[in-house]
């Protein structure tokens, strides 16, 4: 591991963090504009054809600040978000959205992390395998499979897994995060972690069982991109001079392969930010398919209720999440590649 004095790294992190702000602001602005395109105002739109006495409607509009000039709304909401206040629901009047998001977010985080980890593992192994067998039948088969993986429609693929492993084989549960008979004391809301923290093995195993199918769905679909990148990088690295130099010093194959992997992995890391964003998109579909109570299925529920403030809040939370992940990826990249100067 490279040794890093804290000074420059801290600076690097701060600069990277600052660079994410415009991205989040732009997305915020975009979402703000989109949600103001609604004819009339969000309250009218949310109510649809339901009748509500005009004075109550007026009160809702005032409560939400929708009568103020647009730019005031823009900054007021932004300020609120920075204080963790995402506004209140249009449908369940007065309910703070941040409470819902806080409830739901750990489920998405857990699913995303598991799915992400699986996709990287699957991609690394298949990609390395393809590179080692370059030009063989296995190689071309893996290539086609990686393309197919990417084109799988997530809800369909998820349902097929549910059919096979849930309905026919009865191996795994097909929905939810925990069986009703299992009790777990929540700490973080990330069930596998909570189970470990409280030493609750039955709950851990049950939570993992619930996680397998949804995270495998995401993992397989997302792995294709890694398979191909790793294959290309690995083939290049394996043919490089320093690998030959290792062999010339008599280093055993297994170790040489590990060194090659480490080199091939670095460009993969740079791709992870974007991959994670794609994964979050997939999580919305996965959560709906597996009745997974995260912010993705929350978004979909709120869309059908036309609860526009909740939609706005959820998307902004997603934007922050994506921004944070790309920051983390940047930091990891700087840590594992000694050539990065910061």
């Amino acid at each position: 591991m490279p040794r890093i004095s804290l000074g420059p790294l801290a600076r690097y992190i701060i600069i990277r963090a600052l660079m994410i702000i415009p991205t989040i602001l732009i997305l915020y602005t975009l979402v703000f504009i989109i949600l103001r395109i609604i004819p009339g105002n969000p309250v009218e739109a949310a109510l649809g054809t339901r009748y509500i006495p005009p004075e109550i409607k007026q009160r809702m509009i005032e409560q939400l600040g929708l009568n103020k000039p647009l730019y005031v709304q823009y900054f007021q909401y932004l300020l609120g978000v920075l204080h963790g206040n995402f506004g209140t629901s249009l449908v369940i009047v007065g309910r703070p959205i941040s409470a819902d998001l806080k409830n739901r977010f750990p489920a998405t985080l857990e699913l995303a992390v598991w799915g992400f980890t699986l996709s990287v593992i699957i991609g690394l192994t298949t990609g390395t395998f393809a590179a080692l067998k370059r030009g063989s039948k296995t190689d071309s088969a893996l290539r086609i499979l990686s393309i197919i993986a990417y084109t799988l429609f997530i809800p369909w693929f998820g349902m097929m897994l549910q059919l096979i492993f849930g309905v026919y084989l009865h191996w795994l549960p097909t929905s939810g995060r925990l069986s009703a008979r299992v009790s777990l004391h929540p700490i973080t809301g990330i069930y596998t972690l909570d189970a470990l923290l409280t030493g609750n093995w039955p709950a851990f195993i049950d939570a993992v069982k619930h996680l397998i199918l949804p995270s495998l769905t995401l993992g397989i679909v997302l792995s294709g991109a890694y398979t191909r990148l790793v294959r290309t990088n690995m083939s290049e690295v394996l043919a490089s001079d320093f690998i030959r130099a290792y062999k010339a010093r008599g280093i055993r194959d297994r170790k040489v392969l590990l060194h090659a992997l480490r080199n091939a992995f670095i460009p993969v890391v740079t791709m992870m930010g974007l991959q994670f964003a794609i994964l979050l998109g997939g999580a919305v579909l996965t959560e709906t398919t597996f009745s997974w109570p995260g912010i993705g299925s929350y978004l979909v529920e709120k869309v059908s209720l036309r609860d526009y403030t909740a939609i706005q809040g959820t998307i902004i939370l997603f934007a922050f999440f994506v921004g944070l992940i790309s920051l983390i990826v940047d930091i990891i990249y700087a840590l594992i590649d000694p050539r990065i100067r910061y």
Binding site: R244, Y246, I251, N263
Partner: protein
């Protein structure tokens, strides 16, 4: 028995457009303590010959036939696991491009120490690092550089690191494939001095590959000239330079600038043959100023002439008597 004995070696690269015969029927003996230089134009098969010794040919290269006896052991037939024990401690290698021959994401200390541990030369990590530090100092790099990454070093320093990595394992033979080609002239001379110094100190045998016959002449005990996969001439360095027998060697020498005379530099006209479709007879005949009938039809054998060898029909009669 010679330290290294290459017999009837044939190496080829099967490609989509045909089989490249990169080394053809090579015979070569290297005695302990020698500095043998292999010279020839680009593509003549020098590297291929060198890499086949430890079987590190780039794909799709393969040894088609022949044997390579290192102290009586045929490296061609040795299983991969056994051969690995020879790579490094018995036969070390350094390469042309120091910029790409070190793992960019590991410290140079890690890379040198790893091999010391692998071959059991160091018992533990601490010893491995201390030996690696010694090796660095031996090549003129301060030991606090152990923690440096390759990108923090210059090209010359990196080549020194690679030499340190190879020499730390105490090999009997060091194969150096154009180790100075990528460096500037001043650094080049220093690296050559270093190699010579280490050779004496560690009692190594050096197989030195270069396309620069003048560079080879400086320190070699013997020079082997290759052309189109064939060994054309093999003689003690002085004799070869003073009195080159093969027309190709003569051409090579004429193409070399000479500081002390203002003779004209003449490059050999024409190009080396396509190794997928080598010409019949002597591979050099299409470019040879002294080619005659037999050269076009019959491949000349490598003839022994008073402790030197040459593959040329011009010396046929003399060779026949011996």
């Amino acid at each position: 028995m010679a330290l290294l004995e290459i017999r009837g070696l044939n190496v080829e690269y099967p490609t989509l457009s045909g089989i490249v015969r990169a080394v053809v029927d090579a015979n070569l003996e290297v005695e302990g303590g020698e500095w043998v230089s292999i010279v020839g134009e680009s593509g003549s098969g020098k590297s291929t010959l060198a890499y086949s010794i430890t079987r590190l040919l780039p794909p799709p290269g393969r040894i088609r036939s022949g044997s390579i006896l290192y102290r009586g052991v045929d490296l061609v037939k040795l299983p991969e696991r056994e051969l690995r024990k020879y790579r490094g401690p018995e036969i070390g290698m350094i390469f042309q491009d120091p910029m790409t021959s070190l793992d960019p994401v590991r410290t140079i200390g890690d890379q040198i120490a790893e091999a010391l541990l692998e071959h059991g030369i160091a018992k533990d990590k601490a010893e491995a690092y201390s030996l690696a530090g010694d090796a660095l100092e031996e090549v003129g790099i301060p030991r606090n550089r152990l923690k440096s990454y390759p990108h923090q070093l210059s090209g010359g320093q990196r080549q020194r690191v690679l030499i340190a990595g190879a020499v730390a394992l105490n090999p009997r033979i060091l194969i150096a494939d154009e180790p100075t080609t990528a460096l500037d002239v001043v650094v080049q001379a220093k690296i050559m001095d270093l190699l010579e110094e280490l050779k004496e100190k560690h009692d190594m045998t050096i197989i030195f590959i270069t396309h620069d016959i003048a560079l080879a002449a400086e320190r070699s005990t013997r020079i082997v000239v290759m052309y189109a996969g064939h060994i054309m001439e093999d003689a003690p360095a002085e004799q070869l330079v003073e009195n080159p027998l093969h027309p190709y060697t003569q051409g090579l020498l004429n193409a070399t600038p000479d500081l002390w005379s203002d003779k004209r530099i003449e490059s050999i006209p024409g190009y080396p043959p396509d190794l997928r479709r080598p010409p019949p007879g002597c591979p050099f005949h299409p470019r040879c100023p002294r080619a005659w009938g037999l050269c076009r039809s019959e491949k000349p054998a490598l003839l022994d002439l008073n402790g030197r060898r040459v593959a040329c029909h011009l010396y046929r009669r003399e060779g026949a008597g011996r």
